[in-house]
Protein backbone atom coordinates (compact mmCIF):
# COMPACT_ATOMS: atom_id res chain seq x y z
CA UNK A 1 0.00 0.00 0.00
CA UNK A 2 1.59 3.29 -1.03
CA UNK A 3 1.23 6.38 1.11
CA UNK A 4 -1.00 9.21 -0.05
CA UNK A 5 1.09 11.52 -2.17
CA UNK A 6 0.09 15.06 -1.22
CA UNK A 7 3.38 16.39 -2.58
CA UNK A 8 2.70 14.93 -6.00
CA UNK A 9 -0.88 16.24 -6.03
CA UNK A 10 0.33 19.73 -5.12
CA UNK A 11 3.19 19.64 -7.63
CA UNK A 12 1.10 18.19 -10.49
CA UNK A 13 -1.69 20.71 -9.91
CA UNK A 14 0.76 23.58 -9.84
CA UNK A 15 2.44 22.37 -13.07
CA UNK A 16 -0.98 21.93 -14.68
CA UNK A 17 -2.00 25.49 -13.80
CA UNK A 18 1.29 26.97 -15.01
CA UNK A 19 1.56 24.90 -18.20
CA UNK A 20 -2.07 24.60 -19.31
CA UNK A 21 -4.59 26.69 -17.43
CA UNK A 22 -2.68 29.98 -17.22
CA UNK A 23 -2.39 30.10 -20.96
CA UNK A 24 -4.20 32.65 -23.15
CA UNK A 25 -5.95 29.89 -25.13
CA UNK A 26 -7.37 28.14 -22.10
CA UNK A 27 -8.24 31.35 -20.28
CA UNK A 28 -10.15 32.35 -23.42
CA UNK A 29 -11.84 28.97 -23.45
CA UNK A 30 -12.99 29.38 -19.86
CA UNK A 31 -14.23 32.96 -20.37
CA UNK A 32 -14.99 33.77 -24.00
CA UNK A 33 -16.69 30.54 -25.07
CA UNK A 34 -19.21 30.47 -22.18
CA UNK A 35 -19.91 34.17 -22.69
CA UNK A 36 -20.68 33.55 -26.37
CA UNK A 37 -22.96 30.60 -25.52
CA UNK A 38 -24.74 32.62 -22.85
CA UNK A 39 -25.23 35.54 -25.22
CA UNK A 40 -26.64 33.28 -27.95
CA UNK A 41 -28.92 31.60 -25.37
CA UNK A 42 -30.17 34.99 -24.17
CA UNK A 43 -30.84 36.23 -27.72
CA UNK A 44 -32.78 33.06 -28.53
CA UNK A 45 -34.72 33.45 -25.30
CA UNK A 46 -35.52 37.09 -26.18
CA UNK A 47 -36.56 36.03 -29.69
CA UNK A 48 -38.96 33.56 -28.05
CA UNK A 49 -40.61 36.48 -26.26
CA UNK A 50 -38.96 36.28 -22.82
CA UNK A 51 -38.07 39.67 -21.35
CA UNK A 52 -35.34 38.41 -18.98
CA UNK A 53 -32.74 35.71 -19.70
CA UNK A 54 -33.28 32.29 -18.19
CA UNK A 55 -31.01 31.93 -15.14
CA UNK A 56 -30.45 28.20 -15.42
CA UNK A 57 -30.23 27.60 -19.15
CA UNK A 58 -28.82 30.92 -20.39
CA UNK A 59 -26.54 32.24 -17.68
CA UNK A 60 -25.45 29.20 -15.66
CA UNK A 61 -25.67 26.98 -18.78
CA UNK A 62 -22.95 29.12 -20.36
CA UNK A 63 -20.75 28.50 -17.32
CA UNK A 64 -21.35 24.75 -17.50
CA UNK A 65 -20.48 24.90 -21.21
CA UNK A 66 -17.17 26.57 -20.28
CA UNK A 67 -16.44 23.89 -17.67
CA UNK A 68 -17.11 21.10 -20.14
CA UNK A 69 -15.19 22.63 -23.05
CA UNK A 70 -12.28 23.39 -20.74
CA UNK A 71 -12.23 19.79 -19.54
CA UNK A 72 -12.41 18.28 -23.04
CA UNK A 73 -9.74 20.54 -24.51
CA UNK A 74 -7.32 20.46 -21.57
CA UNK A 75 -7.62 16.66 -21.34
CA UNK A 76 -6.94 16.43 -25.07
CA UNK A 77 -4.00 18.82 -25.01
CA UNK A 78 -2.53 17.23 -21.89
CA UNK A 79 -1.90 13.98 -23.71
CA UNK A 80 -1.38 15.26 -27.25
CA UNK A 81 0.93 18.02 -26.02
CA UNK A 82 2.93 15.68 -23.82
CA UNK A 83 3.21 13.15 -26.63
CA UNK A 84 4.37 15.87 -29.02
CA UNK A 85 6.97 17.40 -26.70
CA UNK A 86 8.36 14.11 -25.42
CA UNK A 87 6.99 14.43 -21.88
CA UNK A 88 4.72 11.39 -22.16
CA UNK A 89 7.75 9.08 -22.41
CA UNK A 90 9.40 10.67 -19.42
CA UNK A 91 6.25 10.46 -17.30
CA UNK A 92 5.55 6.84 -18.27
CA UNK A 93 9.24 6.00 -17.67
CA UNK A 94 9.07 7.28 -14.10
CA UNK A 95 7.98 5.09 -11.17
CA UNK A 96 4.75 7.10 -10.79
CA UNK A 97 1.87 5.60 -12.73
CA UNK A 98 0.43 7.55 -15.64
CA UNK A 99 -3.03 6.78 -14.24
CA UNK A 100 -2.31 8.74 -11.08
CA UNK A 101 -0.93 11.65 -13.09
CA UNK A 102 -4.04 11.63 -15.29
CA UNK A 103 -6.33 11.51 -12.28
CA UNK A 104 -4.67 14.58 -10.74
CA UNK A 105 -4.49 16.46 -14.03
CA UNK A 106 -8.17 15.83 -14.73
CA UNK A 107 -9.08 16.96 -11.22
CA UNK A 108 -7.14 20.18 -11.86
CA UNK A 109 -8.93 20.65 -15.18
CA UNK A 110 -12.34 20.10 -13.59
CA UNK A 111 -11.57 22.51 -10.74
CA UNK A 112 -10.27 25.08 -13.26
CA UNK A 113 -13.71 24.89 -14.87
CA UNK A 114 -15.19 26.33 -11.67
CA UNK A 115 -13.71 29.63 -12.81
CA UNK A 116 -16.18 29.58 -15.70
CA UNK A 117 -19.08 28.68 -13.46
CA UNK A 118 -18.06 31.34 -10.94
CA UNK A 119 -18.07 33.96 -13.68
CA UNK A 120 -21.54 32.81 -14.76
CA UNK A 121 -22.86 33.21 -11.21
CA UNK A 122 -21.22 36.63 -10.94
CA UNK A 123 -22.82 37.66 -14.23
CA UNK A 124 -26.19 36.43 -12.94
CA UNK A 125 -25.88 38.56 -9.81
CA UNK A 126 -24.06 41.65 -11.07
CA UNK A 127 -25.40 41.99 -14.60
CA UNK A 128 -28.84 40.42 -14.48
CA UNK A 129 -29.68 41.14 -10.85
CA UNK A 130 -30.63 37.64 -9.78
CA UNK A 131 -30.78 37.39 -5.99
CA UNK A 132 -30.94 33.60 -5.69
CA UNK A 133 -33.65 33.80 -3.05
CA UNK A 134 -35.56 30.57 -2.61
CA UNK A 135 -32.73 28.52 -4.04
CA UNK A 136 -32.07 25.09 -2.48
CA UNK A 137 -28.52 26.00 -1.43
CA UNK A 138 -27.51 22.57 -0.13
CA UNK A 139 -29.08 20.94 -3.16
CA UNK A 140 -26.99 23.17 -5.45
CA UNK A 141 -23.82 22.52 -3.46
CA UNK A 142 -24.20 18.71 -3.32
CA UNK A 143 -25.22 18.61 -7.00
CA UNK A 144 -22.17 20.70 -7.89
CA UNK A 145 -19.79 18.35 -6.08
CA UNK A 146 -21.41 15.39 -7.83
CA UNK A 147 -21.26 17.26 -11.15
CA UNK A 148 -17.52 17.76 -10.66
CA UNK A 149 -17.10 14.06 -9.84
CA UNK A 150 -19.11 13.12 -12.98
CA UNK A 151 -17.00 15.38 -15.16
CA UNK A 152 -13.81 14.00 -13.58
CA UNK A 153 -14.89 10.39 -14.27
CA UNK A 154 -15.44 11.22 -17.95
CA UNK A 155 -12.22 13.24 -18.04
CA UNK A 156 -10.01 10.36 -16.83
CA UNK A 157 -11.77 8.05 -19.29
CA UNK A 158 -10.99 10.50 -22.10
CA UNK A 159 -7.37 10.92 -20.97
CA UNK A 160 -6.79 7.18 -21.13
CA UNK A 161 -8.50 6.89 -24.48
CA UNK A 162 -6.30 9.71 -25.76
CA UNK A 163 -3.14 8.03 -24.51
CA UNK A 164 -4.02 4.96 -26.57
CA UNK A 165 -3.05 6.20 -29.98
CA UNK A 166 -1.68 9.21 -31.79
CA UNK A 167 -4.95 9.42 -33.76
CA UNK A 168 -7.36 9.32 -30.85
CA UNK A 169 -7.32 13.12 -30.44
CA UNK A 170 -9.23 13.42 -33.69
CA UNK A 171 -12.23 11.58 -32.23
CA UNK A 172 -12.41 13.65 -29.07
CA UNK A 173 -13.34 16.75 -31.06
CA UNK A 174 -16.61 14.97 -31.92
CA UNK A 175 -17.51 14.72 -28.23
CA UNK A 176 -17.59 18.32 -27.09
CA UNK A 177 -20.83 19.56 -28.66
CA UNK A 178 -22.83 16.28 -28.70
CA UNK A 179 -22.33 15.80 -24.95
CA UNK A 180 -23.28 19.43 -24.32
CA UNK A 181 -26.45 19.00 -26.37
CA UNK A 182 -27.28 15.59 -24.89
CA UNK A 183 -26.90 16.73 -21.29
CA UNK A 184 -29.05 19.83 -21.62
CA UNK A 185 -26.48 22.47 -20.73
CA UNK A 186 -28.50 25.22 -22.40
CA UNK A 187 -32.05 23.83 -22.38
CA UNK A 188 -34.12 21.30 -20.43
CA UNK A 189 -33.62 17.64 -21.36
CA UNK A 190 -37.38 17.25 -21.85
CA UNK A 191 -37.24 19.21 -25.10
CA UNK A 192 -35.11 16.44 -26.64
CA UNK A 193 -36.78 13.56 -28.52
CA UNK A 194 -37.44 10.64 -26.17
CA UNK A 195 -34.88 8.36 -27.81
CA UNK A 196 -32.18 11.01 -27.32
CA UNK A 197 -33.21 11.37 -23.69
CA UNK A 198 -32.49 7.65 -23.25
CA UNK A 199 -29.03 8.12 -24.73
CA UNK A 200 -28.35 11.14 -22.53
CA UNK A 201 -29.33 8.98 -19.56
CA UNK A 202 -26.02 7.14 -19.95
CA UNK A 203 -24.01 10.29 -19.26
CA UNK A 204 -23.58 11.00 -15.53
CA UNK A 205 -23.21 14.74 -16.11
CA UNK A 206 -26.84 14.94 -17.24
CA UNK A 207 -28.17 13.62 -13.89
CA UNK A 208 -25.98 15.84 -11.72
CA UNK A 209 -26.82 18.87 -13.84
CA UNK A 210 -30.56 18.23 -13.71
CA UNK A 211 -30.37 18.01 -9.91
CA UNK A 212 -28.39 21.26 -9.80
CA UNK A 213 -30.79 23.06 -12.13
CA UNK A 214 -33.84 21.94 -10.13
CA UNK A 215 -32.15 23.06 -6.90
CA UNK A 216 -31.37 26.43 -8.48
CA UNK A 217 -35.03 26.71 -9.45
CA UNK A 218 -35.95 26.17 -5.80
CA UNK A 219 -36.90 22.50 -5.78
CA UNK A 220 -36.62 20.74 -2.42
CA UNK A 221 -37.98 17.43 -3.76
CA UNK A 222 -35.56 15.12 -1.97
CA UNK A 223 -36.69 12.01 -3.86
CA UNK A 224 -36.00 13.65 -7.19
CA UNK A 225 -32.63 14.97 -6.06
CA UNK A 226 -31.42 11.74 -4.42
CA UNK A 227 -32.39 9.65 -7.44
CA UNK A 228 -30.49 12.04 -9.70
CA UNK A 229 -27.46 12.13 -7.42
CA UNK A 230 -27.35 8.34 -7.19
CA UNK A 231 -27.69 7.98 -10.95
CA UNK A 232 -24.82 10.43 -11.47
CA UNK A 233 -22.59 8.69 -8.91
CA UNK A 234 -23.47 5.20 -10.21
CA UNK A 235 -22.80 6.08 -13.85
CA UNK A 236 -19.58 7.88 -12.90
CA UNK A 237 -18.45 4.70 -11.21
CA UNK A 238 -19.23 2.78 -14.40
CA UNK A 239 -16.88 5.15 -16.25
CA UNK A 240 -14.24 4.67 -13.53
CA UNK A 241 -14.49 0.87 -13.83
CA UNK A 242 -14.25 1.16 -17.64
CA UNK A 243 -11.21 3.40 -17.22
CA UNK A 244 -9.51 0.94 -14.84
CA UNK A 245 -10.13 -1.88 -17.31
CA UNK A 246 -8.73 0.24 -20.13
CA UNK A 247 -5.66 1.53 -18.24
CA UNK A 248 -3.63 -1.68 -18.19
CA UNK A 249 -4.48 -2.37 -21.83
CA UNK A 250 -3.53 1.15 -22.90
CA UNK A 251 -0.27 1.03 -20.96
CA UNK A 252 0.78 -2.19 -22.69
CA UNK A 253 -0.60 -1.17 -26.06
CA UNK A 254 1.35 2.10 -26.28
CA UNK A 255 4.56 0.37 -25.21
CA UNK A 256 4.00 -2.31 -27.81
CA UNK A 257 3.22 0.06 -30.67
CA UNK A 258 5.80 2.68 -29.71
CA UNK A 259 3.11 5.38 -29.62
CA UNK A 260 4.41 7.01 -26.45
CA UNK A 261 6.27 9.42 -28.64
CA UNK A 262 5.00 11.44 -31.58
CA UNK A 263 8.14 10.59 -33.55
Amino acid sequence: MTSFRWGLIKQQMSVQFLVRTLNPFFLGLFVIQPAVFSAVGMLLSRAAGNSTPDLVYNVIGGGIMGMWSGLVFTSTYDILGDRRNGMLELIVGSPTSLNLIEAIRTLTNVLSGLFSLGLAFMAAILIFGYTFTGVNFWGVLISLVILLFSMWSIGVFLANFLAWSRLSGTFVDYLEMPIAFLCGFMYPIRVLPVWLQYISGAVPIRWALEAMNESLLGSFDLNYLVVHWLMAIGLSNVFIVLTSWMQAKVHDSIRLSGELSSI
Binding site: R5, L8, L18, G86, I91, G93, P95, T96, R255
Partner: protein, 327 residues
Protein backbone atom coordinates in the same frame (compact mmCIF):
# COMPACT_ATOMS: atom_id res chain seq x y z
CA UNK B 1 23.07 -10.46 -6.44
CA UNK B 2 23.09 -10.46 -10.22
CA UNK B 3 26.54 -9.73 -11.57
CA UNK B 4 25.33 -7.76 -14.57
CA UNK B 5 23.90 -4.27 -14.49
CA UNK B 6 22.29 -4.75 -17.91
CA UNK B 7 21.67 -8.02 -19.69
CA UNK B 8 19.78 -8.77 -22.87
CA UNK B 9 19.13 -12.17 -24.36
CA UNK B 10 17.92 -12.54 -27.95
CA UNK B 11 16.06 -9.26 -27.76
CA UNK B 12 13.75 -8.59 -30.71
CA UNK B 13 11.46 -5.73 -31.62
CA UNK B 14 9.14 -5.80 -34.59
CA UNK B 15 6.85 -2.84 -35.25
CA UNK B 16 3.58 -3.62 -36.97
CA UNK B 17 1.79 -0.90 -38.85
CA UNK B 18 -1.56 -1.05 -40.60
CA UNK B 19 -2.37 0.93 -43.70
CA UNK B 20 -5.51 1.29 -45.80
CA UNK B 21 -9.08 2.15 -44.83
CA UNK B 22 -11.15 -0.62 -46.43
CA UNK B 23 -8.48 -3.23 -46.94
CA UNK B 24 -6.11 -3.30 -44.00
CA UNK B 25 -2.58 -4.12 -44.94
CA UNK B 26 -0.21 -5.03 -42.16
CA UNK B 27 3.46 -4.20 -42.50
CA UNK B 28 6.16 -5.46 -40.16
CA UNK B 29 9.41 -3.62 -39.59
CA UNK B 30 12.20 -5.38 -37.74
CA UNK B 31 13.92 -2.73 -35.60
CA UNK B 32 15.98 -4.99 -33.36
CA UNK B 33 16.91 -8.57 -34.13
CA UNK B 34 18.35 -11.05 -31.67
CA UNK B 35 20.44 -8.62 -29.68
CA UNK B 36 22.32 -10.16 -26.76
CA UNK B 37 24.87 -8.42 -24.58
CA UNK B 38 25.67 -7.82 -20.96
CA UNK B 39 27.09 -4.81 -19.17
CA UNK B 40 29.05 -5.14 -15.93
CA UNK B 41 28.30 -2.88 -12.97
CA UNK B 42 30.36 0.29 -13.20
CA UNK B 43 31.02 -0.20 -16.92
CA UNK B 44 30.46 2.39 -19.64
CA UNK B 45 29.06 0.52 -22.61
CA UNK B 46 28.63 2.15 -26.01
CA UNK B 47 26.10 1.36 -28.71
CA UNK B 48 27.23 2.69 -32.07
CA UNK B 49 25.45 2.45 -35.35
CA UNK B 50 23.96 4.48 -38.19
CA UNK B 51 20.53 6.11 -37.98
CA UNK B 52 17.81 3.47 -37.92
CA UNK B 53 20.18 0.72 -36.75
CA UNK B 54 18.05 0.00 -33.67
CA UNK B 55 20.09 1.74 -30.94
CA UNK B 56 17.29 3.93 -29.59
CA UNK B 57 14.76 1.09 -29.86
CA UNK B 58 17.11 -1.07 -27.76
CA UNK B 59 17.51 1.72 -25.19
CA UNK B 60 13.74 2.25 -25.08
CA UNK B 61 13.16 -1.45 -24.39
CA UNK B 62 15.76 -1.37 -21.62
CA UNK B 63 14.18 1.73 -20.10
CA UNK B 64 10.71 0.03 -20.12
CA UNK B 65 9.29 2.48 -22.66
CA UNK B 66 8.84 -0.24 -25.28
CA UNK B 67 7.83 -3.85 -24.87
CA UNK B 68 10.09 -6.36 -26.66
CA UNK B 69 8.46 -8.60 -29.24
CA UNK B 70 10.53 -11.51 -27.92
CA UNK B 71 13.63 -12.21 -25.90
CA UNK B 72 14.41 -10.87 -22.46
CA UNK B 73 16.24 -8.02 -20.80
CA UNK B 74 17.06 -7.24 -17.22
CA UNK B 75 18.46 -4.31 -15.27
CA UNK B 76 20.28 -5.22 -12.04
CA UNK B 77 18.59 -8.61 -12.31
CA UNK B 78 15.09 -7.07 -12.62
CA UNK B 79 13.07 -8.08 -15.66
CA UNK B 80 12.12 -5.03 -17.76
CA UNK B 81 8.74 -6.51 -18.70
CA UNK B 82 7.60 -8.17 -15.48
CA UNK B 83 9.22 -5.81 -12.93
CA UNK B 84 8.70 -2.53 -14.75
CA UNK B 85 7.97 -0.40 -11.69
CA UNK B 86 11.08 -1.65 -9.85
CA UNK B 87 13.31 -1.17 -12.88
CA UNK B 88 12.14 2.44 -13.23
CA UNK B 89 13.32 3.28 -9.71
CA UNK B 90 16.89 2.20 -10.51
CA UNK B 91 17.41 3.76 -13.93
CA UNK B 92 17.79 7.24 -15.32
CA UNK B 93 17.62 8.12 -19.00
CA UNK B 94 18.17 11.10 -21.23
CA UNK B 95 17.35 11.15 -24.93
CA UNK B 96 18.92 13.49 -27.44
CA UNK B 97 16.21 16.02 -27.89
CA UNK B 98 15.19 19.55 -27.15
CA UNK B 99 11.84 17.97 -26.27
CA UNK B 100 10.81 16.43 -22.97
CA UNK B 101 10.61 19.42 -20.67
CA UNK B 102 7.89 21.96 -19.96
CA UNK B 103 9.10 25.08 -21.75
CA UNK B 104 6.91 27.43 -19.74
CA UNK B 105 8.51 26.25 -16.50
CA UNK B 106 11.97 27.11 -15.21
CA UNK B 107 14.74 24.52 -14.94
CA UNK B 108 14.17 24.35 -11.19
CA UNK B 109 10.40 23.89 -11.59
CA UNK B 110 10.91 21.12 -14.17
CA UNK B 111 13.32 19.27 -11.89
CA UNK B 112 11.02 19.77 -8.91
CA UNK B 113 8.21 18.15 -10.89
CA UNK B 114 10.36 15.15 -11.79
CA UNK B 115 11.55 14.93 -8.18
CA UNK B 116 7.91 14.31 -7.23
CA UNK B 117 7.48 11.74 -10.01
CA UNK B 118 10.46 9.89 -8.51
CA UNK B 119 9.05 10.30 -4.95
CA UNK B 120 12.03 12.28 -3.67
CA UNK B 121 11.56 13.86 -0.27
CA UNK B 122 11.09 17.61 -0.43
CA UNK B 123 14.17 18.48 1.65
CA UNK B 124 16.36 16.10 -0.32
CA UNK B 125 15.07 17.46 -3.65
CA UNK B 126 15.65 21.05 -2.55
CA UNK B 127 19.30 20.24 -1.85
CA UNK B 128 19.88 17.91 -4.80
CA UNK B 129 18.39 20.10 -7.54
CA UNK B 130 20.79 23.06 -7.03
CA UNK B 131 23.68 20.59 -6.75
CA UNK B 132 22.75 18.94 -10.08
CA UNK B 133 22.17 22.28 -11.81
CA UNK B 134 25.63 23.27 -10.65
CA UNK B 135 27.05 19.96 -11.92
CA UNK B 136 25.66 20.57 -15.42
CA UNK B 137 26.58 24.27 -15.38
CA UNK B 138 23.06 25.69 -15.21
CA UNK B 139 23.03 27.02 -11.65
CA UNK B 140 22.91 30.64 -12.78
CA UNK B 141 19.96 29.95 -15.12
CA UNK B 142 17.94 27.84 -12.68
CA UNK B 143 15.09 30.34 -12.51
CA UNK B 144 14.86 31.04 -16.23
CA UNK B 145 12.14 29.45 -18.31
CA UNK B 146 13.35 26.50 -20.39
CA UNK B 147 11.96 28.19 -23.53
CA UNK B 148 14.90 30.63 -23.26
CA UNK B 149 17.50 27.82 -23.24
CA UNK B 150 19.75 26.76 -26.11
CA UNK B 151 19.60 23.12 -27.25
CA UNK B 152 22.89 22.43 -25.48
CA UNK B 153 21.51 23.79 -22.21
CA UNK B 154 18.38 21.66 -22.61
CA UNK B 155 20.56 18.63 -23.18
CA UNK B 156 22.45 19.34 -19.97
CA UNK B 157 19.18 19.85 -18.11
CA UNK B 158 18.08 16.42 -19.35
CA UNK B 159 21.21 14.93 -17.80
CA UNK B 160 20.41 16.65 -14.50
CA UNK B 161 16.87 15.26 -14.71
CA UNK B 162 18.14 11.77 -15.37
CA UNK B 163 20.40 12.00 -12.29
CA UNK B 164 17.77 13.40 -9.92
CA UNK B 165 17.03 10.16 -8.08
CA UNK B 166 20.68 9.07 -8.14
CA UNK B 167 20.06 6.01 -10.35
CA UNK B 168 22.50 3.12 -10.46
CA UNK B 169 22.14 2.64 -14.21
CA UNK B 170 22.10 5.51 -16.66
CA UNK B 171 21.03 5.46 -20.33
CA UNK B 172 22.33 8.35 -22.40
CA UNK B 173 21.07 8.45 -25.97
CA UNK B 174 23.35 10.73 -28.01
CA UNK B 175 23.90 13.12 -25.09
CA UNK B 176 26.24 15.53 -26.89
CA UNK B 177 24.13 16.10 -30.00
CA UNK B 178 23.65 19.85 -30.49
CA UNK B 179 26.23 20.80 -27.88
CA UNK B 180 29.23 22.95 -28.82
CA UNK B 181 32.76 21.47 -28.45
CA UNK B 182 33.40 23.12 -25.08
CA UNK B 183 30.03 21.95 -23.76
CA UNK B 184 30.65 18.44 -25.13
CA UNK B 185 33.99 18.28 -23.35
CA UNK B 186 32.33 19.38 -20.09
CA UNK B 187 29.63 16.76 -20.54
CA UNK B 188 32.21 14.03 -21.19
CA UNK B 189 33.97 15.11 -18.01
CA UNK B 190 30.67 14.84 -16.13
CA UNK B 191 30.09 11.36 -17.57
CA UNK B 192 33.57 10.31 -16.40
CA UNK B 193 32.79 11.67 -12.95
CA UNK B 194 29.60 9.62 -12.86
CA UNK B 195 31.59 6.57 -13.79
CA UNK B 196 34.00 7.21 -10.93
CA UNK B 197 30.96 7.23 -8.63
CA UNK B 198 30.25 3.65 -9.69
CA UNK B 199 27.37 4.31 -12.09
CA UNK B 200 26.77 1.95 -14.97
CA UNK B 201 26.24 3.85 -18.19
CA UNK B 202 24.90 2.79 -21.57
CA UNK B 203 25.72 5.42 -24.14
CA UNK B 204 24.67 5.71 -27.75
CA UNK B 205 26.55 8.14 -29.92
CA UNK B 206 27.50 9.01 -33.47
CA UNK B 207 30.75 10.58 -32.37
CA UNK B 208 33.54 8.02 -32.60
CA UNK B 209 36.05 10.11 -30.67
CA UNK B 210 33.54 10.35 -27.85
CA UNK B 211 32.99 6.59 -27.84
CA UNK B 212 36.73 5.94 -28.00
CA UNK B 213 37.40 8.32 -25.11
CA UNK B 214 34.59 7.14 -22.84
CA UNK B 215 33.54 3.56 -23.51
CA UNK B 216 35.02 0.47 -21.91
CA UNK B 217 33.33 -1.70 -24.53
CA UNK B 218 31.45 -0.92 -27.70
CA UNK B 219 28.76 -2.78 -29.63
CA UNK B 220 28.33 -1.77 -33.25
CA UNK B 221 24.73 -2.20 -34.37
CA UNK B 222 23.72 -2.56 -37.98
CA UNK B 223 20.17 -3.18 -39.23
CA UNK B 224 19.02 -4.28 -35.78
CA UNK B 225 21.91 -6.71 -35.19
CA UNK B 226 25.11 -6.43 -33.19
CA UNK B 227 27.86 -6.93 -35.75
CA UNK B 228 30.83 -6.28 -33.48
CA UNK B 229 31.31 -6.11 -29.73
CA UNK B 230 34.63 -5.48 -28.02
CA UNK B 231 36.84 -2.89 -26.35
CA UNK B 232 37.81 0.07 -28.58
CA UNK B 233 41.41 -1.18 -28.69
CA UNK B 234 40.39 -4.70 -29.66
CA UNK B 235 38.06 -3.35 -32.34
CA UNK B 236 40.91 -1.31 -33.79
CA UNK B 237 43.17 -4.37 -33.79
CA UNK B 238 40.67 -6.12 -36.05
CA UNK B 239 41.97 -4.09 -38.95
CA UNK B 240 45.35 -3.25 -37.45
CA UNK B 241 47.10 -4.76 -40.44
CA UNK B 242 45.75 -1.90 -42.45
CA UNK B 243 46.79 1.71 -42.73
CA UNK B 244 44.95 4.74 -43.95
CA UNK B 245 46.52 7.05 -46.50
CA UNK B 246 44.79 10.34 -47.04
CA UNK B 247 45.50 12.42 -50.14
CA UNK B 248 44.29 15.95 -50.89
CA UNK B 249 43.87 15.97 -54.66
CA UNK B 250 43.13 18.54 -57.38
CA UNK B 251 39.61 17.83 -58.68
CA UNK B 252 40.77 17.51 -62.29
CA UNK B 253 43.16 14.70 -61.36
CA UNK B 254 40.86 12.51 -59.26
CA UNK B 255 39.79 10.15 -62.05
CA UNK B 256 43.37 9.66 -63.23
CA UNK B 257 44.54 8.78 -59.70
CA UNK B 258 41.58 6.42 -59.16
CA UNK B 259 42.60 4.61 -62.35
CA UNK B 260 46.18 4.28 -61.05
CA UNK B 261 44.92 2.78 -57.78
CA UNK B 262 42.95 0.09 -59.63
CA UNK B 263 46.10 -2.00 -59.77
CA UNK B 264 45.74 -2.62 -56.03
CA UNK B 265 43.86 -5.76 -55.03
CA UNK B 266 40.35 -5.74 -53.51
CA UNK B 267 41.69 -5.45 -49.93
CA UNK B 268 42.48 -1.84 -50.70
CA UNK B 269 39.40 0.36 -50.37
CA UNK B 270 39.32 3.90 -51.70
CA UNK B 271 36.84 6.47 -50.44
CA UNK B 272 36.38 9.64 -52.44
CA UNK B 273 35.14 12.79 -50.70
CA UNK B 274 33.98 15.55 -53.03
CA UNK B 275 32.52 17.94 -50.49
CA UNK B 276 35.42 20.40 -50.57
CA UNK B 277 38.18 21.60 -52.86
CA UNK B 278 40.76 20.04 -52.93
CA UNK B 279 38.98 16.70 -53.01
CA UNK B 280 40.02 13.96 -50.70
CA UNK B 281 40.96 10.31 -51.31
CA UNK B 282 41.03 8.09 -48.25
CA UNK B 283 42.75 4.77 -48.99
CA UNK B 284 42.51 1.92 -46.49
CA UNK B 285 45.10 -0.70 -47.39
CA UNK B 286 47.21 -3.53 -46.01
CA UNK B 287 49.97 -2.43 -48.45
CA UNK B 288 50.67 1.22 -47.64
CA UNK B 289 54.16 1.07 -49.16
CA UNK B 290 52.77 0.05 -52.52
CA UNK B 291 50.14 2.80 -52.46
CA UNK B 292 52.72 5.43 -51.53
CA UNK B 293 54.97 4.18 -54.33
CA UNK B 294 52.07 4.56 -56.77
CA UNK B 295 51.11 8.04 -55.64
CA UNK B 296 54.46 9.65 -54.77
CA UNK B 297 55.33 10.58 -58.40
CA UNK B 298 52.24 12.79 -58.37
CA UNK B 299 53.11 14.57 -55.15
CA UNK B 300 53.25 18.09 -56.55
CA UNK B 301 50.66 20.93 -56.46
CA UNK B 302 49.30 20.06 -59.92
CA UNK B 303 48.12 16.61 -58.75
CA UNK B 304 48.39 15.82 -55.02
CA UNK B 305 48.64 18.68 -52.56
CA UNK B 306 49.18 16.59 -49.48
CA UNK B 307 49.75 12.93 -48.69
CA UNK B 308 49.46 11.58 -45.19
CA UNK B 309 49.62 8.08 -43.70
CA UNK B 310 48.03 7.45 -40.32
CA UNK B 311 47.06 4.53 -38.14
CA UNK B 312 43.51 3.22 -37.79
CA UNK B 313 40.96 5.09 -35.69
CA UNK B 314 37.71 3.76 -34.29
CA UNK B 315 35.96 5.67 -37.04
CA UNK B 316 37.84 3.63 -39.67
CA UNK B 317 36.81 0.42 -37.93
CA UNK B 318 33.21 1.61 -37.68
CA UNK B 319 33.08 2.55 -41.36
CA UNK B 320 34.68 -0.74 -42.37
CA UNK B 321 32.14 -2.72 -40.34
CA UNK B 322 29.11 -0.68 -41.34
CA UNK B 323 30.08 -0.81 -45.00
CA UNK B 324 30.08 -4.56 -44.65
CA UNK B 325 33.60 -5.54 -45.59
CA UNK B 326 34.25 -6.79 -42.07
CA UNK B 327 32.29 -9.44 -40.13
Amino acid sequence: MDSFAIETKSLNKVFKTKTGFWKNKSKSTVAVENISFSVERGELFGLLGPNGAGKTTTVKMLTTLLLPTSGSASILGLDVVRQTAEVRKHIGFAFSSSRGLYNRLTAFQNLKYFAELYSLKNDYANKRIPMLLDLVGLADRADDRVETYSSGMIQRLHLARALLHDPEVLFLDEPTVGIDPVGSRELRKTIKNLLSLGKTILLTTHYMAEAEELCHRIAIVKKGNIVALDTPEALKRRISGESVIEASVQSSQVQMLLEKLKVMDRRTVVEHTTAAEPEKLSIRTPEPGKVLELLSPFLNPQYILNLEARSQTLEDVYIAIIQGDQE
